[in-house]
């Protein structure tokens, strides 16, 4: 088990390193003096000279990367051009806002979609199956930014059940905070339901076709024993991996939902930074989201043996 954990962690290190190189190179590809780009309109000859020295711009590119990456490892992601604040605390503040919405949505979607997909597979080609597959394909095909607008239109503007746009933090007013995140959570929940029902159904169907299921039935086990003890448990593994991918992808793509509902999350921070050409924030957001994505998938991988012990044996 320890070997498995070590191997998985070691595999994540080169990925993170190459991601860091990619983010570093991306900003260096922009024409112009990197120090002038990083300081924007705030640049003075003295600050430019100081930053050039700090970034090691008179040195070779690998040395520059080493200096930058060393700073990143110490938590120094630079200073935002627009807000003059250090980038890391800014990114972390916004991350918690996005993470809350994404985590609740994915948790709820998993709770409903995984059993629904399993039932659909168990009752393959029945009317229940056709309904669930149809619903999943439909939900999966509706982009979150349109789904969000539709919810906003009907639940917010037509029925007046929920506040339309904005964000209230939980520390300010927990009741209002809850009301404000219902629609963003519901948007992501409905979309991810579509993705997860399809995956859960496909992986359960694969398992139900295996010989040991036929064997279990031939042994005379009750249908519930076959399903609960043999089929569903083994079918959960691939779905579990997908849940990890969904979590990471949502963090990367949540900007659209945050735009619909005017939530000041990490995605919105990144998009605003792109508009403002706030390169330190762009670099910080990209690197941080990539790091979270790898970390989430690492945790998912490390927990995988709980559902499928064969993985550690391999």
């Amino acid at each position: 088990m320890l070997h498995f954990v070590f191997k998985r962690v070691a595999m994540a290190v080169p990925t993170l390193l190459i991601m860091a190189v990619t983010v570093f190179v991306l900003i260096r590809l922009i024409p112009g003096d990197p120090a002038a780009l990083m300081l924007g309109d705030l640049a003075t000859p003295a600050s430019l000279a100081d930053l050039r020295e700090r970034l090691g711009l008179d040195q070779s590119l690998p040395v520059q990367f080493g200096i930058w990456f060393g700073n990143v490892l110490r938590g120094d992601f630079g200073i935002s051009i627009t807000s003059s604040q250090p980038v890391l605390p800014l990114v972390l503040d916004r991350f918690w806002i996005s993470a809350r919405v994404v985590l609740i949505a994915v948790l709820l979607a998993s709770l409903f979609a995984v059993p629904a997909g399993m039932v659909a597979a168990w009752r393959q080609n029945s009317s229940t199956d056709l309904f669930l597959v149809g619903l999943a394909t439909l939900l999966y095909s509706i982009p979150t930014f349109w789904l969000g607008l539709l919810l906003l239109l009907f639940l917010g503007l037509q029925l007046n059940w929920l506040p339309v746009v904005g964000y209230v933090s939980f520390s300010e007013d927990p009741g209002a905070a809850l009301l404000y995140i219902v629609m963003p959570v519901m948007t992501l929940f409905l979309h991810e339901m579509g993705v997860l029902i399809r995956m859960s159904r496909a992986s359960t169907l694969e398992v139900l076709r295996l010989d040991y299921i036929t064997h279990a039935r031939a042994k005379g086990l009750s249908e519930s024993a076959v399903l609960w003890r043999h089929a569903f448990k083994n079918a959960f593994g691939p779905t579990w991996t997908l849940i990890g991918l969904v979590l990471g992808n949502l963090l990367g793509g949540i900007a659209v939902v945050e735009t619909v509902f005017t939530i000041p999350g990490l995605g919105r921070l990144l998009v605003d930074a792109i508009f403002a050409r706030d390169y330190p924030v762009i670099q910080g957001c990209l690197l941080f989201i990539a790091f979270v994505y790898v970390a989430v998938n690492l945790v998912v991988d490390l927990l995988y043996p709980v559902f499928d012990p064969r993985v550690t044996a391999e």
């Binding site: 439909l138 095909s141 349109w146 539709l150 239109l153 496909a202 990471g248 900007a255 735009t259």
Partner: protein, 272 residues
């Protein structure tokens, strides 16, 4: 088989209508999609304007048709760019093997670990928010998926007898790759390209919605949806029709993708 034909018929019909609308939109629209008419602004759907008019009095149906042409063109160009670049990387990696393969795939897998939309956002910072920028950014963001699939196919093909025979006959490596290996990668590439077309269309709409796509006044479904937000209470059709176009197109592509996968992998028939 019943579900398979339903997927093909429904998916094919939807995609067919959208493609026809896009082709028509490229050459003819009922009204000029860019012509401003303040007198007729925010007119609801009616006989003169089937899908109503927007905040500048422009005909929504004409803009949707022009947007379909733009979206299709961007998506096709992006899939072609990712296909060409990914195929080149996959062919070199899979055929050369050894260190070339290890280094190329290490970078490729690290890029695959980035959510594609995030990578595209990063690349847009460099390439700029316009049609070319989107094609470059999304093309590069989706290249690693193609490279992975092509490399896998090449690895299995390069050991087959007909490839060995080509080498024994004295054909050059380049000839063997282009004449014998490349054509056999078309099958898996077609399945991937179908799904990728949907992903790219969605990503392009999302970027346009964020204001990072084709700049206005040129219409795209994404920027039409974004522009509808301030008027959503008084002109609901502005938000309904572009969203419906994106969703129906994605539904059609997903149904066709499912059918294609069913056909190529009969074991999984009806699994998705």
């Amino acid at each position: 088989m019943k579900r398979l034909s339903l997927n093909v018929v429904l998916g094919g019909a939807i995609v067919g209508i959208v493609v026809a609308g896009a082709v028509l939109g490229a050459v003819w629209t009922p009204y000029d999609p860019l012509k401003i008419n303040f007198v007729g602004r925010l007119a609801p759907p009616g006989a003169a304007h089937w899908f109503g008019t927007d905040e500048f009095g422009r005909d929504v149906l004409s803009r949707l048709m022009a947007a379909a042409a733009t979206s299709m063109l961007i998506s096709l160009s992006t899939v072609a760019a990712a296909g060409l670049l990914g195929t080149a990387v996959g062919l070199v990696s899979g055929y050369a093997r050894g260190w070339t393969d290890r280094i190329l795939m290490a970078f490729n897998d690290a890029l695959l670990a980035f959510p594609a939309i995030l990578l595209a956002l990063g690349l847009l910072t460099v390439a700029g928010a316009n049609s070319t920028g989107i094609i470059v950014a999304l093309g590069l963001a989706y290249t690693p998926s193609v490279a992975r699939i092509v490399r896998g196919t090449v690895l299995s093909l390069r050991e087959r007898e007909f490839v060995e025979a080509s080498r024994v006959m004295g054909n050059s490596e380049l000839y063997t790759v282009l004449r014998h290996i490349l054509p056999n990668c078309v099958g898996p590439m077609t399945v991937l390209a179908t799904s990728m077309f949907g992903w790219v269309l969605l990503a392009e709409s999302a970027l346009s919605f964020l204001g990072l796509g084709v700049p206005p006044p040129a219409p795209t479904w994404g920027n039409m949806l974004a522009a509808s937000r301030p008027f959503i209470a008084q002109a609901v059709w502005l938000a309904i029709f572009p969203g419906l176009c994106i969703s129906l197109t994605l539904l059609g592509i997903n149904l066709l993708g499912d059918a294609l996968r069913d056909r190529l992998d009969p074991r999984m028939r009806g699994a998705s």
